[in-house]
Amino acid sequence: MDISPLQLARIQFTGSASFLAFFLPMTLALAWVLLFFKWRARVTRDPGWTAAYRFWVRVYALAFVLTLAGSVPLLFQLGSLWAGLMDKIGNVAGPLIGYAVLSVFIFKSCFLGVMLFGQRRVSPAVHTFSIFMVAIGQMAAVFWVVVLQSWLETPTGARFFDGRYQVFDWPAVVFNPALGWQLGLFALTSALAAAFLIMGVTAWQALRRPLDHAEKLAFKAAVVLGALAVVLQVPVGVGSARVTALHQPAKAAAVAAYWETGAQPSFTLWGIPDSRQKRTRHDVTVAHGSTLLGQDAITGQFQGLDTYSGMHPPVGPIFFTVRVAVLLAIVMGLTAWVVFLRVRNRGFDPSVLSRASLRGVSLLMFAGSLSGVLHTWIYLFGMQPYAVNGTVTQTEILGPAASGSLALALTSYTALYVLLIVAFLAMLFHAARYGVIPVRKVGRAA
């Protein structure tokens, strides 16, 4: 089998981004959830909140370790895999990546150690403050990354001149049209990742033994968070679809599998896109449904995939990924609300749910994280064949590495990621079954 270096590079980059996208959302949101637990413990003096904090801070620490580890390959791949990228966008991306690294450095060196190992060494107020700073610091780091990510979709504030982007308006670079929706989507995905993780793990525990007070408190917080986040996902999803229709019409057309420019198309709910014959087989459509994407409202016309002379995202992958992501969002939404309504008047005790429902909830343990992975795929597939939307293609920035070494690296990365994911799962389930004992680092009195 012969795979081109470009395909191998795409697979490798998508794989590394997916690993990060799996762990980053839960890390991001768990810090805020932990801050909430800590705050409740201080206000209510209920030891249950402290116990909940103690269990979930372990899961947070594991997820953080893997998030930090997972960000290193991505950073280096930006340089070694896409070697030509910075030469084009260095003036924009350099400071953004630099600030992201700096943000991680500051919150990790100043506050994370206190949060994880310093609980007995500092006052409760200082400890709570350090959790807050970790939560803020993580958001700051992610903010810079999302700025870069959204700017690549909607490159405003900089001019492409002589093969290089020159910034003329930094606020326009940072607050580019796609930023707001992407930040919103990221925040909600994170909330869902944490909510479904806590709900799922607690349901898994409830299947095995009666829950204690702390576990019920954590479940309650997670159900409320999840029910809120799934609702907010609807407007944010619609909003980002409209930005896509406006700024990435080719991606929107690929999502809709809209092959030929013409009259107002009907919206394809499901089907099997056939890129060779340029049509969708076995399709299920809704008449006039394309207004869902808002393309007509903004541009006044419908542009099919035929207008882009091949410079559009691969239809099959993005078509299916979007539909799976929407399906997953619907399943999460129904689950969160059904559970919320069932437990609301019964003290948010998961044991009132049937065993089948508990099994269902525990199966969705990683649904939020998986939707983060799917969003990353939609983003990366949707960028193809470009690295910077509309100007720089992936082909022109591909590094000099040969297929052989790319394939070897891909195999090694796969083994590494499988090892780390298996370790995470094993340690998570061990903790869920037998509880956690505090760890300490030698040389750090705590």
Binding site: V65, F76, V101
Partner: protein, 344 residues
């Protein structure tokens, strides 16, 4: 020299376009050096786990514990500064180093994850993570050495250069072993100290071989660098570098021999300090050789630097980072030179 260099580019030494890239290169140099020394002993101790008796391995991991957070960040800070200040050289350098960097990155991820997971793992699983940390350390050292081997041969890809890179990779493992064992010598007493001195003695020869091979290759492969080191204006620098280099090797060997024999206990910090001198000499000499190029004879650091207004933004970030870094590192490393203290 600075004035001539500025004039050759038609710039005033006071121009931001001239001094800012230079200042960032200075910082990058310091980050590389700090990373080599501090992440280096960490890597070295990791590699040595394979030779340590099973009951000492946990103790060696615990020795590293207080500095892990500080040690593992030098690489990220260095890459962050590199991409922010010299984006137009970043891809060119990293793209050429794809293979070695992949080895280094996988090693770094393994080290970072395994160390933390080991702390939180069940007792019966701890040794798996310890071996993961070992494998990560070997890969990181080897990858860094391979990268160095590729850099000094100007990224040539003919087969012979590949083997040279493999040789330098092996010597880099030895160098980190030397650094790690001399750090252990300084930190502990008893049987482990003597063992470490023995490891160091094996490693010092390969360290010397590697460093001399790099120096010779660099000079022979590039006429400009050969001239730089051999012309009369710099002959003093060249001679004193070589004398210092060889002096350090001889001194390390002599002290290690005495420590193995159970003598010279009062000198137990000396090998580590001498190793730092060696690494500083090597990184300094490399920088001197390559300057003002980022990629030899092709891309100067001014070519690679971002626009001046972008560099100003980076400078703001550095202004925030440096105080944090100083305070954090002073707190983290204040006892790096001291004896092993078992707290709690």
């Amino acid at each position: 020299m600075i004035a001539t260099l500025a004039a050759s580019m038609g710039l005033n030494p006071g121009d931001a376009a001239f001094w800012m890239p230079l200042a960032f290169m200075g910082m990058l140099f310091l980050l590389v050096l700090a990373g080599t020394v501090f992440d280096g002993f960490d890597i070295g101790v990791g590699i040595l786990l394979a030779w340590a008796p099973a009951e000492e391995r946990g103790r060696m991991m615990n020795l590293l514990s207080p500095w892990r957070d500080a040690n593992e960040f030098w690489l990220l800070l260095g890459v962050g500064l590199f991409v922010a200040a010299f984006p137009f050289g970043w891809g060119a350098v990293l793209g050429q180093l794809y293979g070695p960097l992949t080895a280094m990155v996988i090693g770094t991820v393994l080290r970072s994850a395994c160390f933390e997971l080991r702390i939180r793992a069940r007792t019966e699983h701890k040794s798996w993570w310890l071996w993961g940390f070992w494998a990560g350390s070997v890969l990181t050292a080897f990858g860094q050495g391979m990268a160095l081997g590729r850099i000094v041969t100007g990224y040539q890809t003919v087969a012979g250069y590949g083997w040279f890179a493999v040789f330098v990779g092996f010597c880099a493992v030895a160098t980190y072993v030397l650094l790690g064992s001399s750090w252990v010598i300084m930190r502990v007493r008893g049987a482990l100290q003597q063992r470490a001195a023995n490891w160091g003695r094996h490693a010092v020869r390969w360290t010397a071989a590697g460093m001399i091979a790099i120096a010779v290759t660099l000079g022979l492969a590039n006429a400009g660098i050969f001239y730089k080191w051999s012309n009369l204006a710099h002959i003093g620098v060249a001679i004193s570098t070589w004398v210092l280099l060889l002096g350090c090797f001889v001194a390390i060997e002599m002290i290690l021999t005495r420590i193995v024999a159970g003598r010279a206990r009062s000198l137990r910090a000396a090998p580590f300090l001498l190793c730092i001198c060696l690494l500083a000499l090597m990184v300094g000499a490399l920088a001197f050789s390559l300057f003002p190029y980022l990629i030899l004879d092709d891309l100067t650091l001014w070519d690679a630097a971002a626009n001046t207004d972008v560099l100003r933004l980076v400078l703001v970030g550095v202004g925030v980072a440096v105080p944090v870094m100083l305070v954090f590192n002073l707190l983290a490393y204040r006892s790096v030179f001291s004896d092993e203290v078992l707290r709690n």
